[in-house]
Amino acid sequence: MANATFDIEKVRKDFPILQRKVNGKDLVYFDNAATSQTPKQVIDSIVDYYENYNANIHRGVHSLSQEATDAYEQARIKIQKHFNAQKPHEIIFTSGTTHAINLVANSYGSFLKPGDEVLVSALEHHSNIVPWQMMCEKTGAQMKVIPMLNNGQLDMNFFHKEVSSKTKMVFVNHVSNALGTINPIEEIIATAHAHGAKVLVDGAQSAPHIQADVQELDVDFYTVSAHKICGPTGVGILYGKEELLEQMPPYQGGGEMIAEVSFEKTTYAGLPHKFEAGTPNIAGGIAFGVALDYMHSIGFNVINAYENELLTYATERIKEVNGVIIYGPENPKDKTAVLSFNVEGLHAYDIGTILDQMGIALRTGHHCAQPIMDYYQIPGTARASFSFYNTKKEIDSFIEALKKAVSMLS
C-alpha cells in the first residue's frame, strides 16, 4: 500500500476477533458485506456505557440519565456530520436498515394512492422490496421493477422511459449486496426529482466504503446499519429531509414519541422523537458514533483505495481457478470490494462448507436478493467481501483453499 498513513498490522490489532482460529486454522473473514468486525475502541465504548453511565435517556433528572442522553445525542450529531445532513433531527435512530425502510414504507408510503406508481430496482435486498410490496397492496399503488443487465448494472434506459409524473417513489440501493454494483444514484435522484418523485437510497452496503453526502446527493431518504460499518448490531439510522419527516405520520406509538397523552387525543413529539418510540439501543447508538470516529481515523479515501486494491488482486487471482464465473460488474472500479462467484458444476454451498473447514468465512446463497439469482438462473453464489482489515496474504490463503475445495468437490 502506497499510503504511508495506513499501517495494516496496526489496524488488525484493533480487531480482537482476527486473532482467533476457526477449525484449527487462522480465521480469514471475508463475509464483511453481511457484518463487519468490531474494533476494540467500539467494544470498549459499549463496556464503558454499561459500567459507568447506563441509564434511560431523555427522561431522568439524575446525572446518569443526563450523561447518557448527552452521549446519545452527541452520537446523533457525529452521524449527522458524517453524512452532512443539515440538522441533527434529520437523523432518526432505528434498529438498522430494515427498520428504517419499514418506517418510510409505512409512514411516507401511507400517502400512496391507487394509480400511483413506485419504481424499485432489480438489485434490491429483500428488505427494500417486501415492505413496499406490502404497502402497495394496502394502498393500491403499482410497483414497477427497473431491470438489471447481464453485467450487474441497472437498465437505465428502462428507468428513463418508465419514470413519469405517476411515479411517486423510487427505491434503490447505493451498492448491491449480492454483486457490489455501485448504482448511479445521482442520475436516479435528479431524474426522479424532475418528475416529482421521492427517492429512498438503501445505504447499507455503501456506508462502509463510501462517505455519502446527503445534501450533495439531494437524496430524500438514506438508510444505514451500524453493524456493517464496524459498529454494533441492532442499531442504524434513517436520514430523511426535515420537510418530509415533518409531514410524515408516526410509525410506531409509545413512550418517547409523544408530547401529551390523554385518551381523547395524543399530540406527538417533534423530530426526531416522533419516530423514536420506546427506549432505544442507547449503547448501540453511542458505539455507532465511535465506529464512525474509528473509520475517520483511518480515512474513507484510504479505506476505499485499499479495498479496491484487494478486490483487483482477488479478481485477478481467482481467475487461476478453473471454471470460475464472476457475477456483477467486470471492472473493480464499478463496485465495492465484493467478489460474487460460482465454479462451474459445483454448488456454492459445498464450496462455502469446505472453505469454512479451512478457516475461511464466505457467504453462500441468494444473499437476500433472489431476483438477481433468478436473473442469472442460479440458486446462489459464493460471495467473498473484503474490508480494510483484510490482506493480500489472506486472499492468497483463500485462493489456495478454493483450489483445494474445487479439486475435492469435482
Partner: protein, 141 residues
Amino acid sequence: MSKIEEKQEEIVDEFSMFEDWMQRYEYMIELGKTLPQIDEQHKTDENIIKGCQSRVWLHADLEGDKIKFSADSDAIITKGIIAILIRVFSEQTPKDILEADLKFIDEIGLKDHLSPTRANGLVSMIKQLKNYALAYQAKLN
C-alpha cells in the same frame, strides 16, 4: 441389535477413523457419489424437501414390507449426508424406521458441525424419511 442400530455403529466407527472434519467431508463427498439415484421422473417439485439451502429430492418405494429410498441433490455434500441417512434407513420396515433413534448423528458430531441452514436441512430430511415410513405403514396395515 436391530439392523438400523448396526448400521449406525458402522457409520460411527467409520467416522472415528478420520483425524479431522476435512477428511470426514472428503468421505461424505465420496459417499455422495454412491447415493442411490432417484429416477428422473421422481425429481418433481413435490418431492423436494423444504428447508434445505440446496435442492434435495427424495423418493421411496415399498418392496415387500421394506422401504427403498432414492434421492438426489444439486450439492454434493448434501448428497453425502442423505446417502448416510439412506444407508441407515433403506431396506428397512416402516415400523423399524419409525422407531429408530438416530443416535449416530450426535455421536459423530454431525449436527454440531453443520452450518445452521444445513442442520435445519438435516432435520427436514429425517422428517421426510419418517413421513414416508408413516405413509407406507398406514398402507401396510
